[in-house]
Symmetry: C2
Subunit: 233 residues, 2 copies
DNA sequence: CGCCTCGTAGTGGTCGGACCACTTGACTGG
DNA sequence: CCAGTCAAGTGGTCCGACCACTACGAGGCG
């Protein structure tokens, strides 16, 4: 009997597909521990080095998690785990690509905010207000940034779609850094952001999806237009 | 003088960040060739094995491309390259997560189709029609699937946002497989899909964004509801 | 008896070196 | 001048050793 696999691509690639298949077919459950690297390598008939590369690859994808001294585990396979690399995309994108990313964010964020307006609970709304207040109470850029992110994350989460929230999270990191620059270059940006955030909050409190959608779209579109102008000029 | 980096996490992780930084800072241009693995390893003071893991990690992220016998190159860093892992997310998602992914797809696809209706050229519209005709001319599931994918890809591309098109591409692979199952289980699904595609095409030809948005949303929502029902029952 | 400490086996993390498979380009012979 | 050949260099794979850390149980202490 042959080994079955007649060499497709590199051995490492084959190992990656193999492990992915195990998970996709349910042979490996989220949170479950995998065999040791040494055994996995032996089982697939490859060296430990190659197997390690495969594990590393799946680790950066957020599929596996290696704990030093303990073992290799399947992650919870939740949206946040798998979409972590999405942030890298945002970090490495430049110029026109960044505008495209912002456009995607505008579409998703406006919809998410609209959904949130319809579904948000009083508790979550209070959390949103807390971040809004904290954001207005300080003038430390770093702190503002943190609460700004949390503000939007809370809203996206309230929309009831964790996958969408995770994607928006990834789309934000780079974006918000750009906004910091902007704050330095263009006076009044902070004040405008404050007004826009207030408008979003008002729409949420009023449970008005359409107003929320419009406010969120305007908020992101604001940055988008500014960036577009930067590239054109 | 110290080496500067006081050991943050694993050496491999450090190497990954290092290379990513090189690209983010523009020290490495898209398409450019990197130093050899051996030299990179020596430059960061780590072993070649560890460096190889770093390169492998960046390779699966679509940032680098290793050509056997030739060297390591930075990819074009286009949306398609970086968002390839997005398909993995779709492949590994199950149950409620899949519904969430479809919801994201519905939002993006409907908007993309609306944009396409406003911007599509006659040439691209002809290409869309070609896939539509090919899809209706055969009854081989595999071929239908291929043209179905191409149909939507063409539309997403016509929307003028390659990033969005790439994301939609990733969101589709798994989705469409589910639809194949569906075709087997539920008679009339093909006919309904055919009607929905026709409606989308009609809206595109009429350059009617709102109609296009509605048709696309209904198209994806159809699958979404079916899947939701599957999970509930 | 119960808790705490310490040792130890086992795991992932790193290393160095050897060899293989493939690409590339210069060199050689026609 | 061209085609074929060959050698240097690159990524791909493998091996075996050792390090760093974790987990868990044996043993000691209270």
């Amino acid at each position: 009997m042959d080994e079955g696999a007649p060499q497709k691509g590199t051995v490492t690639q084959r190992a990656i597909e193999e492990i992915k298949a195990m998970i996709a077919e349910g042979r490996l459950e989220p949170g479950q521990r995998l065999p040791t690297e040494r055994e996995l390598a032996a089982r697939l008939g490859i060296s430990r080095s190659s197997m390690r590369e495969a594990v590393r690859a799946l680790t950066v994808m957020g599929v596996l998690e290696a704990r030093h001294g303990s073992g290799i585990y399947v992650t919870a396979l939740e949206a946040g785990d798998l979409l972590e690399t999405f942030g890298v995309v945002a970090d490495l994108s430049r110029g026109p690509r960044l505008v495209e990313l912002l456009e995607v964010r505008r579409i998703l964020e406006s919809t998410a905010t609209a959904l949130a307006a319809a579904r948000i609970t009083d508790d979550r709304l209070a959390a949103v207000e807390k971040h809004l207040a904290a954001m207005n109470a300080t003038d430390d850029p770093e702190e503002i940034l943190a609460h700004d992110l949390a503000f939007h994350r809370e809203i996206a989460s309230a929309a009831g779609n964790e996958t969408m929230a995770a994607i928006l999270d990834g789309l934000s990191s780079r974006t918000f850094r750009a906004r910091v620059w902007r704050g330095y270059q263009e006076e009044g940006a902070f004040a405008r952001t404050r007004r826009e955030h207030a408008a979003i909050h008002r729409a949420l409190a009023a449970r008005d999806p359409e107003a929320a959608r419009a406010a969120a779209a305007a908020h992101v579109g604001e940055v988008e237009e500014w960036l577009r102008a930067q590239l054109g000029g």
